[in-house]
Each structure stands twice: as C-alpha cells, then as structure tokens.
Symmetry: C2
Subunit: 366 residues, 2 copies
C-alpha cells in the first residue's frame, strides 16, 4: 500500500518508506523529529541523549505563515519553541515567498543557529495554495536543509493534470505528509508519511526493550520508526480504497473536485452579492456574501457571514465553515467527497444567496 | 465513558477529565507535556514559546528503571533528553525505591535543576510490579512535583480486592494512563489519560486556527487538550465494553486473571524443571525452563528458553514471549483475555514441559 501511495503522487519508491500514522499531525511530527535528530547528528551531537537542554546551537524551523496549525504544535511538542519557528511571508496568492525564506535562513546562519527543516505547503488548509515547491527544493538543497512537504489534503492532486506540474517537486522532498483519511475517503484515522530516509527515522525512534525483542520479522517494524508502539491496522482500509478506485479513479476524483472549485469561483464572480477572497486553489474556495446596495460596514459583513455559515449547518444541506482571509471573515468551501458534483455547486450558491439575503434583512432591521 | 473509567479505578471525578488517545504512549506523552509546561510556567517562563533552547533551568524527569520504554520515548520526543531522565533503582520486587527517588530529587535541586514529573508504574510491563504509589505520592507532594502513574495495563486491577490497597493512591496522582485496549478487550487503538488538571493540558495544547473556530460547542473539544487534531470515535467501543461488563464484570475479569498468575506461580514452583524469575504480580508471571540434572550453562539455558518461546508460538496453542529478568532470559506469561481460565494454566505448564524436555535433548546432543 505504501508503494501504491508513493507511485500515485510520484514520490521515489526505491529505498523509501511509507508509514501509516494516526493523522497529519502525527505524520508531520514524525518527519520533523527525524529532521531535527539528523541535523543534530550532522552537527556532532546526540539529540535523543542530550535533548535541547545542553546549550547547543539553536534548532530553527521554516514554514509559510499559511502553514497548518499542526506545524506549530510540532514545534511546541518537540521543545523547539515557537520563537524558533520562522513564519515565512506568503505572496498575494498565499504561497511562501522563496526570497523571504532565503533571507530568513541566511539571517539564522549568520546568527549561528542550526536550520533543521523547511515545511512547504502542498495545499494550504486555509486557501489550498501550493507553495513553489521546486524553488523551495532548490533552497533546501543549496543549504542542506531537510524539506518536508505537508500535502496532507492536497498532494493527491499530483494526479490532476492541472496541478501535476506544481507537484512534480514532491520527488525532491525528503518527506511528505499525505492523508488517506481525507481525499481518499478512508475512515479515520489514517495519515501517511512518505520518507526517503527510513534509516534516519529509525535512528530517531527505535527503542526495543527486552519484552519486545522476540517475534519480529525481516520486514520493517513500524514502531521502530515512530513514536507510537501499538497501532491498529490502517493498511487494509487504504488498500481497499486504492484497489477499488485505481489510479484512474483517484485521478478522476481529485480532478473533478478541483474542477468544482473552479466552477464555484466562476459562479461567485458572476453573482453581484458575492465576493471572492482568494483565488480558488485545489478544491478550496474562499468567498463571502456582501450584499450590494446595503448599509453594512466591515464588521457587519463579517457577522453576517458567520450567521450564514451557522444557518447553512442548521439547514443540514451543506457544511460551510468560516475562516479568516486577509483579515476578513470568509465562507470556506472544500470539495472532497466522491459524490460531489456540479449540482452541489449550484445548490450551494442558491442556498447562500437565499440565506444571505434573508439574514441581511434581519441584520439591517435590527 | 470518562466518568465511568475514573469511577472504576477510584480516580477523583470532580473537575477531572478523561481523554481517549491512540494508546499508552500518547497518554504518557500528553501527561508529561502538561507537566513540563506547568513546571516551566511556575518557574516563570513559557515553554511553548521558548522551547528548551533558552538555557533555562534543566527539566528533569524521574521514573523507575522498570518503567515502560514509552517513558524514554516521551523524554526524547519532548526534547528533554535521556540524560535528564533519572532511572530510579528498583528493589528486589522490581518496585521503585522511594529513598532512591528522594535522593535523586535532592541531588537535582541542589544542582539547580527543575524536577517536573515523577512517573510511577501501576503495573510494570516486564514483571507486573506496582511501585509504592502512596510513598511516592508523599514525595511528589512534599517537593511539589507532578505525579503521573503509568497504569496502562495494570491500573484496572484497582478492582481486584488483592490489589485495591496498592492502587488506592491513584486518587493522589495528577494524571494516570489506563488503556481500555488492554485488559478491557476494546479493539485498538485506545489509551485513556485521566487528569486532575484539564486546564493545564489545555494551556499546553490549545491552538485554534481561523479555519477551526466555528462549530465548537460548550463541551471540551479534545483537540484543545492533546497533540492530535482529528481523531476517530474511541468512546463508543469503550462505552460498549463497560456497559456490557459492568463494574462487577470488569472486577471479575481482572481478579480472575490475577488469580491465574498466582496459580501458574504455584505450579511453576512445584515443577522440578521450572524456575520462577520474579514474584508473580498482577497477571504477569516470569519463569523459565531449567532442566534438573543436565549439563547446560547459563547461556545454554537462555538459548533453550528462546527456542521454547518460538516453539510455543509455532504450536499455535499459546503466545509466550521472552524477556530478560535480572540478566536471565525469561518466559513471560500475561493473562489478559476474558476466556483465560485454569485449564489454560495447566495446558501451558504441560506444553512448556514437553517442548522444553524435547528441545533440551536436541541441545545436549548437538
């Protein structure tokens, strides 16, 4: 199953390993643990023994300001500290700026710090934005820094011809997070970590007490490569999903969902009372209801869209959570379900329009 | 379900929280994360922001040399470093020595370090030994150190009248690990963390990005109290197990299993070719085959018992892994299954005796 996942997204198979963990957070943590242990080892010290309490060089991590909250959680869990997480500025398209990344690394090297990993977004959660992976991989290679791509939701889109080019550099990543429990519809929990350095994960995690020595076989034993010891069978359900869909089926699924996002974007742009807040990327669309010709200020429009989101949930017809984009409250649509089709887009536009109009009336008369 | 678990083992319910995590390792990690964040906060600094890289006081953890390997993994994952894990000597019964614990704490305080937690075993994996929880709780209270009890497998035995006294001090622990996926027969994965300080776990973990703000209710949201964000439903299967068994059923299950261990101990002591390597504690029995009147040295007896363990597995009739006890290879029996009864004990004794005799013949003639 690991081989299948790697083949689907174009990750090098030879010498690589796929671990099935409890989710994207665990996959990110696993990768970053291996990365910082490796950086310490190259610097001549043993992180497992010394920890971060020996006054060594300061380990520093780089991630886009648009990266997933789990990256910050990883930095905290590892004892790195958020003061040592460099949140790299994103461009107008919410993509990490390579020039800003380079500057941050150079600044840290000058200060005597130890950059240990770059986390690039292969589909940011908030906007679906894909960081410029190839340019970032160049920088990682130049400075010898571990490149981890958080493609928890998005990296399956390597199979969509519209996005294949942007994901080609997945093959240059040291490790990639990719969740079968998202786009692949596999039941929770299931997060995949693809790594080109199984031996470095083993070096960071392997610990075999006396009562576990017997009974192991030649195949890699997952608990030697991860934090957790006992784990449920996650491979079977992933196997079933991929065996059922095949490469063609997965490709059709992600391509269709991404197409629905483009369709929704076009419909939103055509509606006078709707506003796009970010370019549609992958299957994510950030938009809001902003009725023309009404006397509503920014705060009122924010409040209106929160009410619309709640009303959509209460209707039971869709789920349309809010988020913040450029400081504005946004409705965030994300197409992941295998049954999503064009009628859902039409339905959503009508639903938001109807609820928005009625809630705006209430808000204005209040 | 959390309330039920706490009530069953005598953990204070009022103001406490039960989290269902992916296993014992995750539960231990969660508790120790909260403990070290709390210690840092009391010391006047913010561990989430600073990490362990600011040259502050050195955080130090105490655990029995018999503690589970996951404790070391936690120390590594948190960036504490195994150099700052004090492995406290155990007594002849494999129980942490309170005098040695006190000495270690005093030594660290004198050196200016910051003790942040004591991990006591509520049933060591290797031998089933229960640390003297009450005496350890006294020391934790005296020095103001977080007491975590790792009762992943054993703490259910608070319901066995033979062990209830030893587990009474669970009520004095700041946090307890207790796995429904072990004795309670709940399918993987499921590890419970009981804590008297939900607010400290929230302070260590809560992080709510914009795209997750909406939709939460008044009930505690588990991802604000733990590392993981998305999680499967673990409560239903635990509910089903406890609802089916009831307090009486769980008590009967653990009491019976512990009784089988005592029975096996008695049978082993009565067999001339068998040797006990540790006192039976909870449902764990460490013993080995040591044929009388044969010319086998220590290494040969070790090798013989590894072969016996493998032969038992191959027979398909039982699972009897090896471990090491006092430097000797041991066969380790552990009764956890609801169908285990006295006939299993008799069968195991006969099986080991027969395989041991035949393998000893082979070994001697080789």
């Amino acid at each position: 199953v690991g081989r299948w996942i790697m083949e689907l997204v174009g990750f090098p198979v030879e010498g690589s390993l796929c671990l099935l963990l409890s989710g994207g957070s665990a996959a990110n943590l696993n990768a970053l643990t291996a990365a910082c242990h490796h950086a310490a080892e190259r610097d001549g010290w043993n992180l497992r023994a010394e920890g971060l309490q020996s006054g060594r060089q300061r380990l520093v991590l780089y991630a886009s300001e648009e990266s997933h909250s789990s990256v910050q959680k990883c930095v905290e869990q590892l004892g790195i500290g958020t003061n040592n997480l460099r949140e790299i500025q994103a461009d107008a398209g919410f993509r990490m700026r390579p020039d800003a990344l380079r500057q941050a690394i150079e600044r840290d090297l000058k200060a005597g710090h130890l950059p240990f990993a770059i986390v690039a977004c292969g589909g940011a959660t908030n906007t679906g934005a894909i960081d410029p992976l190839d340019e970032i991989a160049d920088i990682a290679a130049e400075f010898g820094i571990w490149l981890h791509v958080d493609g928890a939701f998005g990296a399956w889109a390597a199979l969509d011809p519209s996005y294949a080019g942007e994901f080609k550099a997945l093959a240059r990543a040291d490790s990639v997070t990719l969740n079968p429990h998202k786009w692949l519809q596999v039941p929770l929990d299931c997060g995949a970590l693809l790594t080109q350095h199984p031996e470095l994960h083993r070096a960071a995690f392997s610990l075999t007490p006396d009562y576990l020595v017997s009974g192991h076989s030649e195949a890699p034993w997952p608990c030697e490569y991860m934090f957790q010891l006992t784990y449920g069978n996650r491979a079977l359900k992933v196997w079933a999903a991929i065996a059922r869909l095949g490469r063609k089926g997965v490709a059709e699924l992600v391509t269709r969902c991404n197409g629905l996002a483009k369709l929704l974007e076009a419909r939103v742009r055509a509606m006078p009372d709707f506003e796009m807040l970010a370019p549609a990327s992958l299957s994510v669309v950030n938009f809001r209801y902003r009725p023309a010709g009404r006397s509503l200020d920014g705060a009122a429009i924010d409040a209106l869209n929160v009410r619309i989101s709640n009303a959509v949930s209460e209707s039971g017809e869709s789920h349309l959570p809010t988020t913040r984009v450029h400081g504005k409250t946004s409705l965030r649509a994300c197409f992941l379900h295998y049954e999503n089709d064009e009628s859902d887009v039409e339905h959503l536009v009508r639903l938001v329009s109807r609820l928005g109009s009625s809630l705006a009336d209430q808000l204005e008369s209040a």
